[in-house]
Symmetry: C2
Subunit: 280 residues, 2 copies
């Protein structure tokens, strides 16, 4: 168990990390450097790559200086083994395609895992100035007009649900067929929101998010935010994402997140059929 005073301290430190990421990333958002952006190379210094790396560097420096015994898992610079029960799991820019298109629906994802279980999560949208924070038993949105608690809404049936996914083209064929069943039943479907869709579950304006092919740094920060607001995050079989997957995992995850478990249960009837083991 982690004491409440420790939670508060780590949450404040997660804010410090998110502030540092904001400062590193914002100058590059909508910076219109078409020459570099056009190269499209994985190794090219396009604006996203520069912002991504600068932000992860800043975050790692702060963790090393303040909690040298904590581990770090980051998208850009791999893993630093933990000499404690704590590991920070970081994705400086989740939603790079939204970032490239100038759309403010990308986010900075910061999580702290205790023995592999994400206990603190931050989804930060620097441009809008919104920070969704989750911890054991609670979640809040810090925005320009102050802080307010987050709470998922009730939604009894899939036919009443607002659902979201990142890109239907990214699913495997069996996954796409399962998703299509869910989509056809849902009231409204939105695409391309990445982490922001999970923030909307916590806010109570989206009911279900379905995604696949996710890495630990895509998922870790979302869990405390959604669950702290009263929601649920599972794989496509309805099982919790195992702690050991978040730190030192291999393989990608299929994730279903919801505000009201009844909507998840209904969607899982279709999704279960195309459930893939995470390590396949």
């Amino acid at each position: 168990m982690v004491a409440e005073t420790q939670i508060a301290r780590f949450l404040a430190f997660a804010d410090t990390l998110a502030d540092a990421a904001r400062a590193a990333i914002l100058p590059h958002f909508r910076a219109n450097a078409p020459a570099e952006a056009k190269q499209g190379s994985k190794h090219g210094f396009d604006p996203v790559t520069v912002a991504d790396r600068d932000a992860e560097h800043s975050i790692r420096r702060l963790i090393d200086a303040n909690f040298p015994e904590h581990g770090i898992v980051g998208e850009e610079f791999g893993e630093k083994a933990s000499r404690s029960a704590f590991t920070w799991i970081v994705d400086p820019i989740d939603g790079t395609r939204a970032f490239l298109a100038g759309l403010p629906l990308w986010g900075v994802l910061i999580a702290l895992a205790y023995e592999g279980k994400p206990i603190i999560g931050v989804i930060d949208q620097p441009y809008i100035g919104e920070r969704f924070r989750g911890w054991p038993g609670g979640a809040s949105l810090v925005a320009r007009n102050g802080e307010r608690p987050l709470r998922t809404r009730t939604c009894e049936r899939l036919t009443e649900a607002v659902i979201a996914t990142t890109d239907p083209k990214l699913f495997e064929p069996a996954e796409a067929a399962a998703f299509e069943q869910v989509r056809a039943a849902a009231k409204i479907t939105r695409y391309g929101c990445d982490c922001y869709a999970y923030a909307m579950i916590a806010l109570g304006s989206v009911d279900l998010v379905i995604e696949s092919g996710l890495a630990p740094w895509d998922v870790a920060a979302l869990v405390p935010v959604v669950e702290g607001a009263g929601g649920r995050v599972t794989d496509w079989r309805g099982a919790p994402i195992p702690n050991e997957w978040f730190v030192g995992a291999t393989g990608r995850a299929q994730v279903a997140a919801c505000g009201d478990a009844r909507v998840c249960d209904e969607a899982l009837i279709a999704l279960r059929r195309s459930h893939a083991p995470r390590d396949s």
Copy 2:
């Protein structure tokens, strides 16, 4: 011709209208009234309907008081015939599904048409606090940190283009096939941005937007913003949207908007085949 001093006066008035719409709409955004929202009825007083109507009421009152001889075309309350060359064309909330999902990519659309031609356009995002404005020969973004000119970017080829559309499920089959060709060639595709995607063309972060089934109030405000920033708005045949369609039109339009005409020309090779007359 409309004199420059008149343009400046109308542009300032369009800002006044957008301010009034902001005040009417913002209290309803993310207001989480699940009981009403769930009715889903066209006539039900869900939060979007209330916000939509309140905003259009405010806008119409202001136009009637300040320019009683101007016509009005609005989504919610139909047409008021013009006793002059001027008509305001208004959609208080473009992107109601984004609005319902809590995503801040909907917009207030306000246009002023002179003899049917949209000469002033405003795309306002009240929650983020962004206002994209266009007029003959120019465009700007007014945001929390001030005003800056808008300029589309160069993009020579579709394979380098960031493209957007609202929802691939809304196309007719022939349209969907044409869009799929364009999507397969493009570098990045984003969905569900409604008017915000056109603002991103003006900003220089999106290269092409393709949509169909649009009404005059969906399109009118976009034209001065995209064209004022150096871009182009046409139908799927490559022809300008005719002035007579914007005021008192019947039928829906297929629209292609781009920052660099070369990308549109390439996309139109596929789109032209599924061009439908606007009055069909």
